[in-house]
Amino acid sequence: MAPTKVKPKVYALSTCPYCKRTKRFLDEHKIAYDGVDVDLLDDAKQDQVIDEVEKLTGKRAFPVVIIGKEIIVGHDEVKLKKALGL
């Protein structure tokens, strides 16, 4: 399967070790992504992004990776590889 051309979106916390592993995984596989550290946003923007995350996942757990229609909550390399076609 060819690697996906969809640019993943990553919602993370700046201090979360699992979020760092997810970002590192994407970097190591040279996957460009749009990332946001939710805890570093100003209050208004943070509320807006948390609402988005809760609508998508039903919870406030990080990291969240959106790849097309796939939503991956938590650092899960098996799911990432499958969704990215690696």
């Binding site: 916390l13 700046s14 201090t15 979360c16 070790p17 699992y18 760092k20 592993r21 939710v38 805890d39 570093l40 948390i50 919870k59 406030r60 757990a61 990080f62 909550v73 938590g74 650092h75 899960d76 390399e77 799911k79």
Partner: protein, 147 residues
């Protein structure tokens, strides 16, 4: 015959009091039996207080978490150093060692967080962050979050 009142020491990390052991005196360094924090005893007008040793340093959170694990019989996995790094980052950005895997920066999520102190590890095999593990519950390889 009246029973002598049990004196207690206030811990500023877990925000509760633990038993004062006869023979302790002001200036002694003791370990909070609830959260593992190293405290210097001080006598205040309201009673005994603990003052955090090495407050805000990596050494403080490392020793606290290792002492907490020792007290409860918990173990760490290969995420230990990454989570400690996250805790140090929380302190630098948000003022104290709050759980690095949570959004909230409130005293009850000071590591070890209140749910962990209340028995989350016993119930789930690990704390929310996967920092503290119940012996025997540690899988290999490390599973993803969330639970």
């Amino acid at each position: 015959m009246s029973v002598p009142r049990q004196e207690r020491v206030y811990c500023p990390v877990c925000l509760t009091k633990f038993k004062f052991v006869p023979g302790w005196k002001a200036g002694d360094v003791v370990i909070c039996p609830i959260c593992g924090e190293k405290l210097v005893l001080e006598r205040g007008p309201e009673g005994w207080n603990g003052s955090r040793v090495d407050k805000g340093t990596e050494r403080e959170i490392r020793e606290r978490s290792e002492e907490f694990a020792r007290l409860r019989g918990y173990v760490f996995n290969d995420m230990k150093e990454d989570i400690l790094e996250g805790l140090v980052g929380k302190n630098a950005r948000f003022g104290d060692f709050y759980c690095p895997c949570r959004m909230m920066h409130v005293p009850e999520y000071q590591c070890p967080c209140q749910p962990t102190r209340a028995g989350d590890v016993e119930a789930n095999g690990k704390c929310y962050c996967g920092f503290f593990w119940k012996k025997g519950a540690l899988p290999n390889p490390v599973p993803p979050l969330p639970r």
